[in-house]
């Protein structure tokens, strides 16, 4: 059903994933040809392409706004004020003062990464600590979990179902964590 490199012609989802690259002209010749073939037979997808192109056109032709008339005057006032305060510190702690300012500038960039970094670190530690721990002796019910990877994949699936009103996480829980005593019966 899936062919390497092929887009199944009725597969709007796959076409959908290729549209951004298509519009940006970044698809290979083969992919372009295949997508275009799909577009000729699919009104929904060709409409999407048209809309995407229009959206990009709108973005590239955004109304240009201008700053207020007294922008320059205000800016110079601010710069003068900063200069003046810098002068005040110059004799005593000039270097520190500027370093602080640079630090502030730098920190604006660095701060956003910090909590993410910490979170990733914690997540990594949790993952690592988990890998040896998950393997062993689960109860008969959960015995069929060869490794941590499968275990997380199964949890991920429950989460997937849970977010969907038409999914039924309670039913999935029974399916993926079957009681081993019933397994043999269910699979003759």
């Amino acid at each position: 059903m899936i062919n390497r490199k092929n887009i199944p012609n009725d597969n709007c989802d796959m076409a959908d994933a290729l549209l951004p690259q298509f519009v940006a002209g970044e698809l290979s010749a083969r992919q372009t040809w295949q997508l275009e073939k799909h577009l000729t037979s699919c009104r929904d997808c060709s409409l999407k392409v048209e809309q995407l192109r229009q959206t990009i056109g709108l973005l590239q032709n955004c109304t240009k706004l201008d700053t207020s008339d007294d922008f320059m005057a205000k800016l110079h006032a601010r710069i003068d004020a900063v200069d003046a305060s810098a002068e005040d510190f110059k004799s005593s702690e000039q270097r520190t003062s500027f370093r602080d300012i640079f630090k502030r500038i730098g920190s604006v960039r660095r701060v956003p990464g910090l909590p993410i970094g910490v979170a990733l670190g914690v997540a990594a530690v949790l993952m690592i600590s988990l890998i040896p721990g998950i393997r062993p002796s689960q109860s008969a019910a959960n015995a069929y979990q060869p490794d941590a990877h499968t275990s997380t994949v199964v949890e991920a699936q429950l989460a997937q179902t849970a977010a969907d009103p038409l999914g039924d996480a309670a039913a999935d829980q029974l399916v993926v964590h079957q009681d081993s005593s019933t397994l043999d019966n269910s699979n003759p």
């Binding site: 994933a17 060869p146 969907d164 309670a170 399916v175 397994l183």
Partner: protein, 382 residues
């Protein structure tokens, strides 16, 4: 069936729904679909500019290229179904779930934006476990392990699921019809049937039947179907709604779970890739593909999933609202106890190993295909 939190943020991917098998044509059609051509209906919250117009574009304008069948969704049923995605009601009740001969009972609490909490009463192996679904998180507390699995996903996931559903209905790939009324746990419900539109099968092949409380948009009974019949069912035996339920937002937070549990974050990074070659390069394996795919299924997308130092390739196949997933990764440890290609299908999850280009690949199937389809597919990996 797996997966939204696996996907890159903001990706325009069609998210998935449930978890059952579907096969195809040989189905007994359960209820005949009623065509409701041209009927107009009003949407609950319309932007002003649209106020005087009937909403178009649901089921009664199927894509012309898929001409086959003149069957259409019922706009009222579609509307009711979509209400379940936006329900704001608090409720609390007892729910029974049955899959084959297995039964579980849970205390259920529900709230706005799909908040749902299941406290397991039985069977004994699940008793004390808790599952909590909130707009950006899924928590699964397992009492015997004192562990809480935490899955995060981008905001707006339910919206994407709804959009996906709407697209399938609009394209005429799914048929949504109202099939009757029935009282569940003292609440008058409308029965809505969701079927995959299959050429030659009048009314399509049933995938879900849901009993919806039209006043609150709550699903009180959820049946998942395969062509062979009902695969699983969950239904309330009692329910209180609104203030009487005593449910609050706090019931859906991690703070409401046992404080001493160890928290583990589930798969946290994945990337959608556009070709098998890209996936293979990323995972460092030669991906094996099933030569046999059950009728009606097509590949929905390929992702690489990063878990520790391991990169797996995830391939997701779907038919209507049903899905199954295949994960493949390189077996890093010698002597890992993965079994050889399966002789019998194991329902739900099955992992086995196969050799490819001198490396050992572990393949995991997750889904609810019919056993015969599952084993045929599993043994067709090349």
């Amino acid at each position: 069936m797996i997966n939204i939190y696996l996907l890159p943020k903001g990706s325009k991917i069609k998210y998935a729904l449930g978890a059952l098998a579907i096969v195809v044509c040989t189905a007994t059609s359960v209820v005949s679909a009623k065509a409701q051509l041209g009927r107009t209906f009003k949407r609950a919250h319309k932007p002003a500019a649209h106020a005087s117009r009937p909403l178009r574009g649901y089921g009664y304008r199927p894509s012309k290229s898929k001409a086959s069948q003149q069957v259409y969704s019922d706009p009222r049923a579609v509307n009711l179904l979509l209400q379940t995605f936006t329900s704001h009601a608090f409720y609390k009740g007892v729910q029974h779930t049955q899959v084959g001969s297995q039964i579980s009972v849970q205390n259920v609490m529900g709230g706005p934006q799909g908040r749902l909490r299941l406290d397991y009463i039985s069977p004994p192996r699940f008793a004390g476990d808790v599952m909590v679904t909130a707009p950006k998180t899924f928590l699964h507390y397992i009492s015997t392990k004192q562990r809480t699995y935490v899955t995060h996903w981008p905001a707006g996931k339910r919206m994407r699921i709804a959009t996906r559903l709407r697209t399938l209905i609009r394209n005429g790939k799914l048929l949504v019809t109202q099939t009757g009324w029935q009282e569940i746990a003292g609440v008058n419900c409308t029965i809505v049937r969701i079927a995959r539109n299959v050429a030659g099968v009048p009314g399509g092949v049933t995938q879900r039947q849901v009993w919806i409380d039209p006043a609150n948009g709550i699903i009180l009974r959820n049946e998942r179907w395969s062509p062979a019949g009902i695969q699983s069912v969950s239904y309330f035996t009692s329910i209180d709604m609104g203030g009487a339920s005593g449910v609050t937002m706090r019931d859906f937070t991690v703070a409401s779970l046992p404080a001493n549990s160890h928290r583990q974050r589930i798969i946290n990074q994945s990337t959608r890739v556009l070709s098998l070659e890209a996936a293979e390069q990323s995972a460092g394996i030669h991906v094996l593909l099933p030569a046999y795919i059950p009728a009606g299924y097509h590949i929905n997308g390929i992702w690489t999933v990063h878990h520790g130092k391991l990169t797996s390739v995830l391939m997701r196949y779907s038919a209507g609202v049903n899905h199954f997933s295949i994960f493949e990764h390189q077996v890093l440890r010698r002597g890992s106890s993965y079994p050889h290609p399966p002789l019998r299908p194991r329902a739900g999850v099955q992992t086995w190993r196969q050799e490819a280009d001198g490396t050992t690949i572990a393949i995991t199937y997750i889904g609810s295909l019919a056993p015969s389809d599952q084993i045929t597919m599993e043994r067709s990996f090349r």
